[in-house]
Amino acid sequence: MPDAGVPETPLEELIPKNLLRERPADLPEVSEPEIVRHYNRISRRNFDLDTGFYPLGSCTMKHNPRLNERVAALPGHARLHPAQEPKRAQGALELMWLLQRSLAEICGLPHVSLQPSAGSHGELAGLLLTRAYHADRGEERTKVLTPDTAHGTNPATVTMAGYEVVKLASNERGGIDLDDLRAKADDDTACLMLTNPNTLGLFDENIAEIARIVHDAGGTLYYDGANLNAIMGHSRPGDMGFDIVHVNLHKSFSQPHGGGGPGAGPIACSDRIEPYLPRPQVVRRDAQNGGEPSFDLDYDRPKSIGRLRGFQGNFGVFVRSYAYILSLGGDGLQEASETAVLNANYLLARMRGGEAGRYTPVAFDRRCMHEFVLSGAPAKRELGVKTLDIAKRLLDHGMHPPTVYFPLLVDEALMVEPTETETRETLDAFAEAIDAILEEAAEDPGIAQGAPYTTPVRRLDEVAANRNPVVRQPL
């Protein structure tokens, strides 16, 4: 600790004793080398994307370029105080403005707010925008439609935003059942929240019609951008008719996932939603006298839904994602989506054959976009091996399992998203591992049922953890 350099007044003379702590917080008291060893050691008990294949569906575990970490760490970014006067933070504001413009172009919607901190935060913003939009028109609507394939954050957000969930059925192609939609879209419908391609990895071809139905009913259309990685440069939510979009910068735009964050969930929207965007908004002001434009935080937004959080959002994430967009460029982003879709379809094609084709068939027999969903139901039925067992056994093969048991629509679901940054060799190895696991299970299902064997710990007792929660080290 530095020398205070000022009088060593007893604390009690500065702050009344009854407001002071009696006993210090019981923190560890260890030397720096011990801290380093501790965290280095436990770090090795993690599986990570930089070490192995991580086809976690819906999560877009693409490579995280280290360049982005480097530029985010520049002192001009990392040590910039969020309350710095805008005129002394022009670089940061310009960066945010440029990112806004880039995302607007990618989403096909003119306005962007970078404030939300993750996808679910963007969803909440989206529904609050919808509410403000309707309120401004004197309407009060109470329902939000979500398909049965929706990610859990969608319905959870609906509730948080004070709406009621109305579930939509899927059709036989995995898209929205239009009849069901027509039946449910009415003047109480505030919004339809949709992912497209959806969580089955399938593009809903009826999207234009869906948009028409919702808009005709007076609702807004919200795009859950978790799957944007499939369509960058190919198709834009705004062009599909969506009013509001969130983008997960930690998915399509390469912010590292950090073991569960940080991320960011900027939202893009159409003109009619714009007045309600969160406050403050980053704006460019053109110079009166033909000079350089300047950038500012605009608080003067009387219809704004207000703040969703402190300061200007997860700026460090913006730096990384903007660096990523600059690195790839428009051409590179388009190519990234193409390769993501190519990789998924290649892997799907490989897995249509072999043991996988038999025991874990694709849930909807179509070509997929950037991910696909298998059903482990036959494996469960015929081999006695559940999706969970397959997932656990994959760990012994040194790979991270796909997302499992989601979407709910698919029995024993395995949701596979390889991303564009994997090689064909890796995809082949994955397909082979699944085949090997199923083959082995046909011989002896007990092996998968007891897996994993080679991990730092084996299957953990989650029931006990829930029943008798120990959520901190006892004193």
Binding site: M1, A4, L14, L19, E22, P24, A25, Y39, R45, D48, L49, D50, N64, P75, G76, A78, R79, L80, H81, P82, Q84, E85, S117, S120, L128, A132, G152, P155, A161, I207, A208, H234, S235, R236, D239, G258, G259, G260, P262, R279, G306, R309, G310, F311, G316, S327, G330, N343, Y346, R367, K392, P401, V457, R458, L460, D461, N466, V470, V471, Q473
Partner: protein
Amino acid sequence: MLEAIGVGSIEELFDDIPESLRLGRPLELPDGKPETEVYDRLSALAARNAHAEAETSFLGAGMYDHYVPAIVDAITSRSEFLTPYTPYQPEVSQGGLQAMFEFQTAMSELTGLPVSNAALYEGPSAVASAGYLAIGATGRRKLVASRGVHPHSRESLVTYGAGYGTDLVEVPLVDGVTDAAALAEAIDDETAAVFLQQPNFLGAVEDIEALGAAAKEHGALLIVACDPIALSILRPPGECGADIAVGEGQPLGNRLDYGGPSFGFFCATEEHLRRMPGRIAGETTDVDGRRGFVLTLQTREQHIRREKATHNICTAQALNALAGMVHLAWLGKRGFVELGELLARRTAYARERLGAVDGVEVLHEAPVVREFAVTVDAPVTAVLDRCAAQGIGAGYPLGRDYPEHENGLLIALTERRSRQDIDRLADVLGAAVADLRGAKVPEGVAS
């Protein structure tokens, strides 16, 4: 690969997208650039920011220029922590889960509350999330907040509250601290929760226990937003009757980053465990009896409970929470207290020193830990510009958030601001005020 798929071109893979919805042109973005050019471009942008390496900054207002020890970067930049996702597969995520468990333990210690989650996005949205919990727990819809609560937190409460239709009643400050009488007055049997901040936005240490009594009386939850660094020396909210303690975690191990990413913490009494938002790591054993950790009480969460979840949060700020934990471990039990003491002493010195400057008046005399408020006898924006020209970020102007303190200035310290820095601030600020005294704010300058 196309052959294996059975298509002739990559284009074909996009056939499901109706022709009319295809973009049909390249994105209007520049082409990709090599790493060296991207680096140069971003460096050039970064160079246009007056950051805390380039000026002596006394800005605080919720985020603070603490020194982030080098081991924080070393540990959080390890691929093993940086690149996995949420620990859905605990067998290969023990590193992250154990770090969460340690974090929960530390935050529980800091706040004096028995349970902690593994972090939310950041401070103000954590305050709003606490409001959401209170509404669910009490079935009431009225929220009462001291004006000592961070303006961003109060705004977030209003924004979030628009969804489920809450009222926010604000209670004024007197002499820098929450007006106890007005607070008691504002609380009634419809009140779901009462929000205080420790220290409050003007840097003053509040008597949480005394203020909170009225909340208890009416069955409202007492929610305290706190600066985790100040909890090194202040009585923890859990010992003052708080039901929930939340806060901005940035001062623990996280860079300023122009406002994020950092983390929000969320601690509560046992009673609220099953209503908590966010991930929680729990201890358990594996089939071989070895100790291990899992994400626990997941039935609170959106991926299991969907519309019945206690919150919608999914991706949070795990890496930032780890940074916080490493920082705390680096400080250590003793060092953490020493840091708090250092700040309290330097802040006391600074307030006295600044208060003695002609044209600068201390805004309140309440006890402070690391931040205090003054009023300058000149247009504060112009004063700040003068100071900036001398390489000093003199503080946060209070005018926008507290119109009653038009020329108020909030001045924050960290261990990086030495006594010499404080003395220099006093000199530079004094000179600026002397110069500008009586000057009018030129139109359009106040933002």
